[in-house]
Amino acid sequence: MKTNFQDSLLHERRFLLKISITLIIVSAMAFTALAAPTDTSGSTATSGSTTATSLSPAYTQVTVSDVTLDPATFATGDEGTITVTIQNTGTQSVTIRRATLYSKDITLLSETTYDSVGSIGAGNKMPFTFTVKADVPEGIYYPVFSLEFQDTGFLRYPVKLEVKNSPVVLSITDKPDTFVPGKKSVVTLSLSNLRTNAIKNVIVSPNASDIEIIPQNIVINSLDPGQTVKLPFSITPKSPTDIDFEAVYLNGPNIHQVGLILPIQFNNDKTQADPVISNIVSAPNGNHIRITGDVTNSGLQDAKSVTVASGSPAIPVDPFKVYAVGLLKPDDFSSFELTVSSESPDEVPVLVSYKDQDGNIYSRSTAADISLAKTPKNNSSMSNAPWIIVGIIAVLVVLAIGYQYIRTRKP
């Protein structure tokens, strides 16, 4: 009996020892299994990369080396790409199960691109590009880049994405006070990039009909943040119209445009040359009538190639069918002379024409009354009195000389 009791006690002790050993092993395994992911996620959240220790698993050597956004700053509604480049800084290859980007605000358009990735060799880099759409209001968002490894563990990395709707502004910086038909004017626009990122492939083009605009468009390869460029356009309007200036540019892959309408309304140029005919005098000149006068440039610009001529129904005759004055600077004046046939009507138009610096021809007509010049000469301002006086003097001189001879011949 005693032997059986001792055997039974020994067997019970061995059973308890087995259970204890088993529990210790299970506990150790459980502890190991729980301890590993806690360390990895904790380091990612703080530093963005796994912490490398000589005892850590291989995947902990994988880090995010670069993040690129295109465009750098999104506008609301813009699509773009986020490229996250990782690098295996360890000495062993690491197998990656999948990579993804998730955010509750930013829409991921390429969800399944990296569902199956593969291995990244030691020292290698691997980029992951995600197409996103920022259908969100202005603000700063943090979509999270997530990398799952084959064995255990994962990498999370929040990416900063800024959505800002700062405009690109197209404005008029210089234009003439008035537009004149056929006269070339220079309109200067300015394009300012108020965004925080550069815009590219900017094309500024005017759209209008019945108007000559040079250049037809202006291309700017890149416009840096805060930069302003001047855009001069030479405009020669022919009729009143609106010019629709449009600037098209790329913010990343997104096409944006900004417009500006410039109304072209014609008015008299306040500074243009203004030749005024005055002091018109007509007088008979042989069989013809001579018209003289002054032409004064009362404008503020040069009048070039000024000519004065008599218009229909006057009948111009030589020697002064047309009188060429030439250049008339502001406030300068010149006399002119015209000869017309005496068969011309009593009132004839005197036409003064000139060119502006662009070669546009302008003309103005002033009526001249030549009826007085057709009347007999006795109405002329000059009388015959001087000739009568000269005649009397001549007679007196002859008498004086005669008297002298008579006196000389007397003894």
């Binding site: 005098v281 007088a283 000149n285 001579r290 003289t292 002054d294 004055v325 030439g326 250049l327 008339l328 300068d332 004046f333 010149s334 006399s335 002379e337 301002s381 000059m382 001087p386 000739w387 006086i389 000269v390 003097i393 001549a394 001189v397 004086a400 000389i401 008297y403 002298q404 006196r407 000389t408």
Partner: protein, 236 residues
């Protein structure tokens, strides 16, 4: 003698020269040569001519007014000085021409005496110049003066000058002043005949030839340029 007596004597002298030059030069040739009084007559003619020249020059000044400030004054001063110098030169050169021509008739007598007596012959020119001045006052304000803006193109300047000279008032004045000049030149020539007769001791015939040759040439030239060609208005 008082100034009044001198003035009366001067007037009597002028009347004598105009009415009986033969007698007056016959007397004067016996006295000492005196150029002061003839120079006075020539100077009076020069001053009156200068007044007329100033008026004519003012037209040119108006024509080139745009050339710049001061250009008009330069033109005016130039014409005034030019008129006085021209009158004196006319006296000196005219006397020299008479002197040279009279040499062909073996004339005797010095150049100074010729100069003195020819100077007396300028007395009619005083009246002629005064009359020309009156005509200038009448006509020249009526002349329409063209304005020259470009001084780089000679054609423009020539065109303006031609236009001014072909102005009806200017043309009329040119003719009137030319006729006046000729009338009083004939009167002066009449005196110069006696002046050269006694200063160079010539016969009346030779003296007349000496004077009339250059005077007629001058008159023909003046008439031709006035009515056929073109010349500056006035002059002798």
């Amino acid at each position: 003698m008082s100034y009044v007596d001198n003035l009366v004597s001067m007037i009597q002298n002028i009347i004598d020269v105009l009415t009986r030059p033969d007698a007056i030069f016959q007397e004067k040739v016996k006295s000492e040569e005196n150029l002061k009084i003839p120079f006075l007559f020539v100077a009076v003619v020069g001053i009156i001519s200068a007044l007329y020249a100033y008026m004519a020059g003012s037209l040119t000044s108006r024509m080139i007014a745009s050339a710049g400030a001061g250009m008009g004054e330069i033109v005016a001063v130039s014409t005034v000085i030019g008129a006085i110098i021209f009158t004196i030169l006319f006296w000196l050169i005219g006397s020299a021409i008479f002197y040279l021509i009279s040499m062909a008739f073996k004339g005797t007598g010095g150049y100074n005496r010729t100069l003195e007596f020819v100077g007396y012959g300028f007395i009619p020119q005083i009246f002629g110049s005064l009359l020309t001045l009156i005509m200038a006052v009448y006509y020249l304000p009526m002349v329409k003066v063209p304005v020259v803006n470009s001084f780089t193109d000679p054609v423009v300047i020539q065109n303006a000058v031609t236009r001014m000279m072909h102005d009806s008032a200017m043309m009329e004045f040119t003719k009137v002043s030319a006729i006046i000049a000729i009338i009083f030149l004939i009167w002066s020539a009449n005196i110069w005949i006696y002046a050269i007769k006694y200063s160079r001791n010539l016969t009346i015939k030779h003296a007349a030839i000496t004077i009339l040759i250059p005077v007629i040439i001058y008159i023909v030239y003046t008439l031709f340029m006035t009515f056929v060609g073109f010349s500056a208005p006035g002059g002798y």
